[in-house]
Amino acid sequence: MNKFQYRLLVAILIFSGFSIFGYKVWVLGFPFFPEQTSPFWKVEAHVRFDAQDGPVKVRLQTLNRVPGFVVTDEHYVGGQFGVHSLESDGNAAAVWSRRNASGKQDIFYYAILRPEPDAEWIPSQNVPGIVDPVFSDAELTAADALLSKAGRESADLETFVPLLMQALLHPESDPNAAFLLRETDSRLDAVNMAVRMLHLAGIPAQSVHGIMLETASAATVRHWLEIHDGTAWRMFDVANARFATPRNFVPWWRGHAPLLATTGAGNPSVRLSVVKDTMSALGNVSARLSSTNSALLDYSLLGLPVRAQAMYHMLLLIPVGALVLVVLRNVVGFSTFGTFMPVLIALSFRETELLWGLGLFSLVILLGLAVRLYLEHLKLLLVPRLASVLIVVVLLMAGISIVSYKLGMPRGVSVTLFPMVILSMTIERISVVWDESGPWQAIKQALGTMGVAVFTYLVMINDLVGHLVFVFPELFLVLLAVTLLLGRYTGYRLLDLVRFRAFLK
């Protein structure tokens, strides 16, 4: 026995188990507690318009990459409209179309935004570049005048942009601005005009449009400017006229395109709504990870079909039960029939519920024991005797099921969940101990077995335990390490105090 190897093995097991566990909890945000919930946001865009007996095409900007969030469960509900989604210039859009439509139409776009743990605003990754703002001669003169006025009154970028934006948002106060925005009064156009003018001034800029994450049935679109100051992209909040880092802001789309563009539709309108909701944190994590095709999720138990998952929910409890059993036997000092029988009984208690399980179990054992004690008189050989007990046990189980069902206690049917081979072996063992060491010893051991089974059951039905083993199976490495440690435990057992009580006086 190599002590160093043993310690190293235990250390490696504990270390790797806990590191994977820690990574999943703190980095990936797996919930530690089963009832943990995490918030998510349901976003809806509701498009309404009147179709005018002709071809209709509706183009709606949809959510693309959102820093700090994962977009899942996107749905495009367009009734009889055909839909396809497309992506251009980093924007995603959905296009609904129909050859011939008439009357009022409703189109919906749904998406769910799941916050990533500890997410922060990630500045645009675009390479800054200057594009030709394409002004006519007259516009160029007006823009130049506006730029130089703002330039004169400001000291740096920090003060220049608010001045420029101020003039464009209130064009009535400045004739140049009024001329540039002569055809529109929308905020979107003012923002886009600002981008063109910044490009004219040689400052890389782009516009970002999105919504604030707060429950609202009619959310307004907020506009931000992304301005490259030579080293990094900085965010300018148009509504508050200052540079800031966006909080709770979900960029919906970038650039000059409108949120909704239609052809062949009358009175088009779009209403954005945001609702906050919560769901089980685990579902949230797995939905988030599966949308990013995480290998960790793919190759975990959460990636199995639901039926297999249910199976593992139970199977994974067996090692926990085994550890409890090791502790109860080697540290406390209980003696039980069969090494792992209490674990198996505890597993069936899970299905039958504790009191019913205890009652049915004792009933089968008692009846079986009576039959076994009678068989003793017949002096049967071992294997036929075991087989007879097994047959009797099955008959007893069937009998108990039928009688309890007819008596209106359908729970009694769950007696079938007991492992009958185990039951027969238990009966055999009890009767052997009964013969060899007397009834008292047999009853004592039977009670010990039941006690251990009940205790194991109580540990195994614990929600936290079930949750931890299923979501973090890597903890089994730690479990294995603990079991290995217990395998070399040479200290006293608790019940040694009873056994050697003569020494305590």
Binding site: L382, G491, F503, L504
Partner: protein
């Protein structure tokens, strides 16, 4: 004392975990177990090494051999039939004499030859063996107990258990059946355990049902101070159990015969820990001392002398 285990630790009591992990597992290789599990094998080994064992009259190995039984029994007035793999004294049939066609048991009841056949068949079917494995039946010399224990034994067979560690006898006890144990010598069934001084072979403390006592509960005779005759020879024979089997941690059971002296009954690869209670002393200090010197002591004689000098009361 806040820590109740401290008393056990101070007394050097070896618990089940320590016995298994530090003494049984490292010293008793699994492959040697068959040597002590089957009394037939043990007996052959013991005989070849010159250990005294009860004479073997015959072995019944399979059901068809049961008809050989009358021929085996013919020559004997008294005999014992026991399972080769029995445990806890179960399945032992003692016949102390004959009365015509029938056999007399120690309690003076009579049984017919048919009943003996049936008992042997039960043994063969594994009724008394661990795990119910098919078994053999041994027909042996029936021990005539040495009268030395007459006053402190009630029915049954008093036997002497000696723990031998790496060939050194470290602790011994005398097990006395009581009315409550129904003639059996198992402490947890109500038999009485008496510590025996390794140096002299004299009984010392006694424990019955986990209480210290100084008189036998049935005969009311004082327990301590009874000197076991031929003690050194007994120790020497027990130490031979190690040489014969190679088991480093071994329990050797003897009975004392009136005519033939100590007879080795069985060897045990996992001897129980109750011997510590009987002696009111922990095994650990003795086992550790034995560990220190085990390499230096070459012969049986040296080991026995060392034990008598070191572990005396």
């Amino acid at each position: 004392m806040l820590n109740p285990f401290a008393k056990l630790r101070r007394a050097g009591v070896v618990g089940m975990n320590r016995r298994n992990a530090e003494y049984v597992l490292p010293n008793n290789p699994r492959k040697l177990y068959p040597l002590v599990d089957d009394k037939c094998v043990t007996k052959e080994l013991a005989l070849s090494a010159g250990l005294n064992v009860p004479d073997l009259y015959g072995v019944v190995r399979a059901p068809h051999e049961v008809r050989r039984l009358p021929r085996i029994l013919n020559k004997q007035d008294s005999f014992v039939i026991k399972p080769a793999r029995g445990s806890g004294g179960n399945g032992i049939l003692v016949v102390s004499g004959r009365l015509g066609d029938r056999f007399r048991k120690p309690d003076d009841s009579l049984i017919a030859l048919d009943a003996v056949f049936f008992h042997v068949s039960n043994i063969l079917s594994g009724m008394f063996s661990l795990g119910g494995m098919p078994d053999k039946a041994l027909v042996e010399y029936c021990v005539r107990f040495d009268p030395v224990f007459a006053e402190i034994a009630y029915q049954g067979v008093p036997d002497i258990r000696i723990i031998v560690y790496k060939g050194i006898p470290v602790m011994a006890m005398l097990r006395l059946p009581t009315r409550e144990s129904d003639g059996k010598a198992n402490l947890h069934q109500g038999a009485m355990g008496c510590g025996v001084d390794i140096a002299t072979g004299t009984t010392t403390t006694a424990v019955w049902k986990n209480r210290s006592v100084d008189r036998h509960p049935d005969t009311m005779q004082a327990i301590s101070g009874v000197r076991i005759p031929g003690w050194k020879e007994l120790l020497r024979q027990s130490a031979m159990g190690y040489e014969v089997t190679g088991l480093g941690y071994l329990g050797v059971d003897f009975v004392l015969d009136r005519d033939r002296g100590p007879l080795m009954l069985e060897l045990n690869a996992r001897p129980g820990l109750a011997i510590q209670v009987a002696n009111l002393a922990g095994l650990r200090p003795r086992l550790e001392q034995a560990d220190d010197v085990a390499g230096r002591l070459q012969t049986n004689e040296e080991r026995v002398v060392y034990a008598m000098q070191t572990f005396g009361a």
